[in-house]
């Protein structure tokens, strides 16, 4: 009797194992696909200072909310289930409440796992995003007016945002002061976006990977190479006279 029951037990064991493994496997696959989706974060959702690239951050953050609790300006919030941002992770929306760039960076200090980089000691070094003047058609400074609000509210005024004067072609006699963002200084705090006086902000902060282009590594800009070398890279280059079409009245 026991001899005969053995192969049946083995059969049953294998069947049970296969059932459990495959059932859980299907579920795991769905979970994996869901995790892939969770990586896409809406452009207006910015991560706290010290957060690494999204993939790293989603692997490191335990969703405890300690950074949210220690944010003195209630800038940070935890994504609830159903929000576009991966559930339980901290984020802020610059147009609602921007980052006030606390000098002691309490959110980073609060993070128990290091998902917010503890080596970040100067808030000016944080890169939460990058401001982009997205709409020249509505920006008041581009109309030749002196709004300047984004420039004035910038915590790194004259470094992260400067005003560059340009000729106002419309009036012919005036200057335009164009707010210009410099990515080497902009922290992405979002105060410019918050401050923009328009109904919909003309300057917005995006996650840096959305805001920044990248040149090919092999690109060499002639004038830079020339400056580096101190002379032309092609010495003795003959500059031929430009030939213009002859003027025939």
């Amino acid at each position: 009797m026991s001899d005969r029951s053995q192969p049946m037990d083995r059969r049953r064991f294998l069947a049970d194992t296969a059932r459990a493994a495959c059932g859980v496997g299907v579920f795991g696959l769905a979970l994996g696909l869901m995790a892939g989706q969770a990586r896409s974060r809406p452009a207006q959702a910015l991560r706290p200072p010290g957060a690494g690239p999204e993939d790293d951050f989603l692997g490191a953050c335990v969703r405890c909310g300690l950074c949210v609790r220690d944010c003195p300006y209630d800038t940070l919030k935890l994504a609830a289930l159903g929000d576009d941002v991966a559930v339980g992770t901290p984020y802020f929306v610059a147009r609602e409440v921007p980052c006030e760039m606390c000098e002691d960076i309490p959110c980073v200090v609060a993070c128990p796992t290091g998902a917010l980089d503890p080596d970040l000691e100067d808030i000016d070094d944080s890169r939460m995003g990058l401001a982009v003047l997205v709409d020249e058609e509505t920006c008041l400074n581009f109309q030749g007016l002196r709004c300047d609000v984004c420039y004035r509210v910038c915590p790194l005024i004259d470094k992260a945002i400067t005003l560059e004067s340009e000729h106002n072609v419309r009036t012919g006699v005036h200057a335009m002061f164009i707010p210009t963002v410099h990515s080497d200084a902009c922290t992405g705090c979002g105060k410019c976006e918050r401050g923009c006086v328009l109904e919909e902000a003309a300057i917005r902060v995006f996650p840096r990977h959305l805001a920044k282009g990248r040149q090919g590594d092999h690109y060499r800009l002639g004038w830079q190479e020339k400056a580096k070398r101190g002379e032309s890279l092609v010495p003795g280059l003959v500059d031929l006279p430009d030939r213009l079409p002859e003027f025939k009245p």
Binding site: A20, V24, A60, V62, V87
Partner: protein
Amino acid sequence: MSAETRPGAAACTTKGWFAAHKWLILRRLSQFSVIGLFLLGPLAGIWFIKGNLASSLILDTVPLSDPFVLLQTMFAGHLPETTALTGAAIVLVAYALVGGRAYCSWVCPVNVVTDVAAWARRRLDLRGGVRINRRTRYWVLAMVPVAAVATGVIAWELVNPVTLTFRAIVFGAGAAWMVVLAVFLYDLFVAERGWCGHLCPMGAFYSIVGTVSLVRVSARDRGACDSCMDCYAICPEPQVLSPAVRGGETGAGPVVLSPNCTNCGRCIDVCAPDVFAFTTRFNTEVDDGDKAQPEVMRKAA
């Protein structure tokens, strides 16, 4: 189910209602106190503890971290800072003392939901349903790190009802109530004790933590057992009871050693002859001169 056959009815008459619900009341007090302490900060501005069950900080000094969640970050390729590692170590030591799955029955907010589902199931006399192997939870537990490695994201935390529920209570709900409702309905109509006792990988994880845990339930007065089966009816993991309760015949000790036991103490509550009591795993004493003195038996064998 009539009032007479409800598990614990006999205990209510012999011991009184409070004695027959003592551990249940203490457990609910514990579960709601945990929630209350976390809510003291946001609601009353008293920051005794902040964060949530994934990671928290008591009085701005003592860190606590969930080792299960922290392991996921490690599998996702992140080495946590010492704060979180210290917090996880504290939690591991604590549960190794009080019983791994004491987390489930004394802290976890989902336990309240599934206990209500189990109660409603008994009240409505709903029997049967989908039968799932209780070992499935270990498969889910194995799947969690695989998903973390494969995606580089702590994927389980996207759906983990335990952390979702607790975070929803402390930080604002969103759509998390739907997950709670789903677990409740699943436990009520689909599978008896279906979530906590069969699928939850967190329960499986804490079971493993609890394999060495000190505090245990013992059927030390098992000679007095009148086989009313109330403990089996009320126990969320009834399979753990048999070796201890029926051990007199097989020579097994009276301590419930299965790591799946949640130390909820409901068996102690509902037992009219007071067979059970909390004790340590080393206390193999049997009260009434039971013939099966386990150590003697083991030596003899």
